[in-house]
């Protein structure tokens, strides 16, 4: 009997590892979910003279995508964002995080601009308020300006179809009902 013990222990471990595979270790719950978006006021990327702030997010369901020209995963995610922007389902706002203005602009003109507009967060202070710890990150914000969901890492086709799109459609319906 005692010779079977290692096998049993191992099989238990495999079960947990198997469950672990389905979980995403990067999916750390954000304390901001269900709370109003943190206040911010930033210059726009394309035009330093114009401002963009929390109040601009109210009144519609929107996505806020945190990106940067130095971020490799953002490049991977970018084509999907461009595609989504063309479908006009939901406005996507950008937050260019810890970047330089020229690099950010060059990046958008080379790869296409899916954003209604991008706010320019040069020193990353707004990113800290939003609890950004890895780029890219995407927030879903409802009509009242409340953060309803946070996606860490590049948006995949699967995440879009299974999580983000249904949530956005639901929120849009809620909004129109109210």
């Amino acid at each position: 009997m005692r010779f079977v013990i290692p096998l049993i222990i191992f099989l238990t471990m495999v079960i947990f590892l198997g469950i672990g595979l389905k979980l995403d270790p990067r999916e750390v719950p954000s304390p901001l979910i269900g709370k109003p978006a943190p206040a911010f006021e930033l210059p726009q990327l394309a035009d330093a003279g114009k401002r963009f702030g929390k109040d601009n997010l109210k009144g519609q369901v929107s996505l806020l995508n945190v990106w940067a020209s130095w971020c490799v995963s953002c490049r991977q995610e970018h084509p999907l964002l461009v595609e989504l922007a063309q479908k006009n389902i939901v406005p996507i706002y950008g937050l260019d995080y810890k970047d330089s203005r020229e690099d950010g602009m060059a990046w958008l003109s080379r790869l296409g601009n899916p954003y209604v507009l991008s706010a320019f967060d040069a020193d990353g202070k707004v990113g800290i308020d939003w609890g950004v710890y890895g780029v890219p990150e995407t927030f879903v914000i409802d009509q009242q300006g409340v953060i309803r969901h946070k996606h860490t890492g590049p948006i995949t086709e699967e995440a879009w179809q299974k999580t983000l799109l249904p949530l956005i459609l639901k929120l849009q319906k809620e909004g129109s009902a109210a």
Partner: protein, 659 residues
């Protein structure tokens, strides 16, 4: 073309591995010599195809062939040549190819150096290694092919991760893999012995040198990794209990236990079932390490590519290999009889205690590494287990190991006389502890019991290792004769134990007496730390091949005498736009001076991190000594001689059976 050749070679290697698994294993079961004879040529052919494959990938990197997705992802035309070659294993796909190649290399080595094995054993060993090869090659071909083309191909590549652009990091993965994969040899010997029902001391004698060499590589890989973390990550730490580090440390602990247990099985014929189990565990933990690192079930500072489909593949592979071998163990091990007799107080039992402690240490690390995962799987929330847990569970287990390692070599096999040993060792014991306590009390801090215990333990281990060597040598009248008559494995053991002592000194002293300071310095200003004066001379721009850097310059004085000039850098890599901190270190046997640039401030000032770390170099010096010890033991001629004698014995037996 070259990529296709590489891809084709990989497929061919898989075919060879299939031949190498099916015919020899079936042949050994049916005692068909011709079938068993396939093992050696198939194993060598598999190695050659893997060699061609990895060389093809290397050529693609050297030629900057960015039409290959993997090359485009992890290299760049401005990357210096040696990093382009090292980029072959700089990311997931290539490092898995390196894994497969390393296994091929070990297979080839076994086929060359095991002429003394009987044909059944050799066929089974190579067959089991081939099964592992098949799994890993299928994994590469189906989920992580490094030869995939990218259409359209980019003009230039995405560059290698700047963290990895460093000498230590270029040779760390090959060393580590040589160790990880090398444990597959001991694993295959164990499986082969279980299959054949021939768990005897000849099996232990064959396994021992292979395990030793794999252990040396593993030690080397871990030491390099820790050294790299120290000077490259820029935090001045040398071990972080990161899941990826733990993944290499767990097999090391079990392999260390295995080495000691193999000695008992070889010399005394005891602990057979236990030794087999350790051999299975050691390689299983290597595979588990690969799974943890490659599947992304755990997050870590190493943050390699995480892909659930890959994870599932490795998990199934892991389940088959480990589950299968443990099932075989459950079926066969009850038949193994230990015929050795030994008293309660004997070297056998002390080594058993050592084994239990090492395995406990390894199990507690495994627990800490998997605990967050288990909690998450049960829906109990996300936590991370950090160094407080590991130091709390690890230190109490390691303490007795160091005590034991000192005393155990003085105990005889079978039965020992503790009274005599106590009499011989007590003065050394008391002197070590007296020296440790008084040294700490007089030079540093009279209330620092941790350092006192640590240093005393290190002195005890070192002096008892030398004492036990002395008592062996003094059996001969002429000391030179005595020295010459000792076998290399005795010297190996002494060196390795001295290495463990040196490591302990480094770990304790650098932990307790490192001082650090974060200061704002303008050019011309100085700061004092640990008896040294650091003068900041300013920052200038320098250009590297694929980065720009701001290089600071510091003069370090001890009293009025200049002792070092340090030039830490802050680099910005052009392609990935990562900012990297290159610390500048003035190494020394007694202390390291370590300076890293932080952020630039107004008026040409910088925030600067300064560390003085006493004895930290001893940590890696200990690693070197352990490696030297391992090599020394592996070079023991007795393995070759006895292996040859075993061959005669087997030949005689087989002849008798045939007759």
């Amino acid at each position: 073309m070259i990529a296709e050749l590489g891809h084709f070679s990989l497929v061919m290697a898989l075919m060879m591995a299939l031949l190498q698994a099916v015919f020899p294993l079936w042949g050994a079961q049916r005692r068909l010599s011709a079938w068993m004879a396939v093992a050696v040529p198939a194993g060598r052919a598999q190695f050659l195809f893997l060699l061609v494959s990895i060389v093809c990938l290397g050529i693609s990197f050297v030629n900057n062939d960015f039409s290959i997705e993997y090359v485009a992802k992890s290299s760049n035309s401005s990357l210096p040549l040696y990093y382009r070659i090292a980029a072959v294993w700089g990311a997931h796909e290539g490092s898995m190819l390196l894994w497969a190649f390393t296994l091929g290399l070990w297979t080839c080595a076994v086929s060359i150096f095991s002429r003394s094995l009987n044909e059944e054993m050799l066929a089974r060993v190579l067959g089991v290694m081939a099964l592992v090869s098949i799994g890993i090659e299928l994994f590469i071909l189906f989920t992580s092919n490094p030869f995939d083309r990218l259409v359209p191909s980019p003009v230039d590549g995405n560059d290698m991760n700047p963290l990895l652009q460093d000498f230590g990091m270029t040779i760390h993965p090959p060393m580590l893999y040589m160790g990880y994969v090398g444990l597959s040899v001991a694993f295959s010997f164990a499986i082969a012995a279980l299959l054949g029902g021939s768990l005897d001391s000849a099996w232990a004698r064959w396994s021992r040198p292979w395990t030793l060499v794999a252990w040396v590589f593993l030690t080397c890989g871990i030491t390099l990794g820790s050294w790299w973390a120290y000077y490259e990550l820029g935090w001045g730490g040398w071990w972080f209990w990161d899941p990826v580090e733990n993944a290499s440390f767990m097999p090391w602990l079990v392999a260390t236990a295995l080495l000691h247990s193999l000695a008992v099985t070889e010399k005394r014929g005891a602990f057979k079932a236990w030794t087999v189990l350790l051999a299975l565990f050691a390689f299983s933990l290597s595979l588990l390490g690969t799974f943890l690192v490659r599947s992304g079930v755990l997050t870590s500072v190493h943050a390699f590519a995480a892909d659930p489909s890959r994870g599932l593949f490795i998990l199934i592979f892991l389940a088959l290999v480990v589950g299968g071998s443990l099932l075989l163990y459950a079926l066969r091990a009850p038949m193994v009889k230990d015929n050795a007799r030994y008293a309660l107080v004997s070297r056998e039992n002390l080594l058993l205690l050592n084994n239990i402690l090492l395995v406990t240490a390894s199990a507690s690390i495994l627990l800490g590494t998997l605990y967050p995962l288990v909690l998450d799987a049960l829906g109990l929330g996300k936590i991370s287990v950090g160094s407080p847990y590991f130091t709390t569970v690890f230190v109490p287990v390691m303490g007795p190991i160091f005590l034991l390692a000192g005393i155990a070599p003085m105990f005889g096999w079978r039965q020992a006389e503790p009274g005599r040993i106590f009499k011989r060792a007590r003065w050394v014991f008391l002197a070590s502890f007296g020296l440790g306590v008084s040294l700490v009390a007089l030079s540093w801090n009279p209330a620092d019991f941790k350092s006192m215990a640590g240093l005393s333990m290190a002195f005890w281990l070192a002096s008892s290792a030398l004492l036990s060597l002395y008592s062996r040598v003094s059996l001969r009248a002429n000391p030179l004769d005595g020295l010459r008559s000792q076998s290399p494995s005795i010297y190996g053991m002494t060196l390795a134990h001295l290495g463990a002592a040196a490591f302990l000194v480094g770990a304790v002293m650098s932990n307790q007496y490192s001082v650090e300071k974060i200061v704002r310095l303008a050019p011309g200003e100085t700061t004092e730390l640990g008896g040294y004066r650091f003068k900041f001379e300013g920052v200038k721009e320098v250009a590297g091949p694929n980065y720009r850097a701001k290089e600071g310059s510091f003069q370090v004085f001890e009293g009025e005498q200049a002792v070092a000039e340090l030039k830490p850098q802050k680099r910005v890599y052009k392609v990935q736009r990562n900012t990297m901190t290159e610390a500048a270190i003035d190494p020394g046997l007694l202390r390291d001076l370590y300076v890293a640039l932080g952020e630039s401030m107004e008026g040409g000032a910088w925030s600067v991190r300064v560390y003085v770390k006493p004895f930290i170099r001893w940590i890696w010096l200990g690693g070197l000594l352990m490696m030297a010890g391992g090599l020394c033991s592996a070079a023991d001629r007795r393995y070759r001689l006895q292996a040859r004698q075993a061959e005669f014995a087997d030949g005689g037996l087989a002849g008798a059976k045939a007759g």
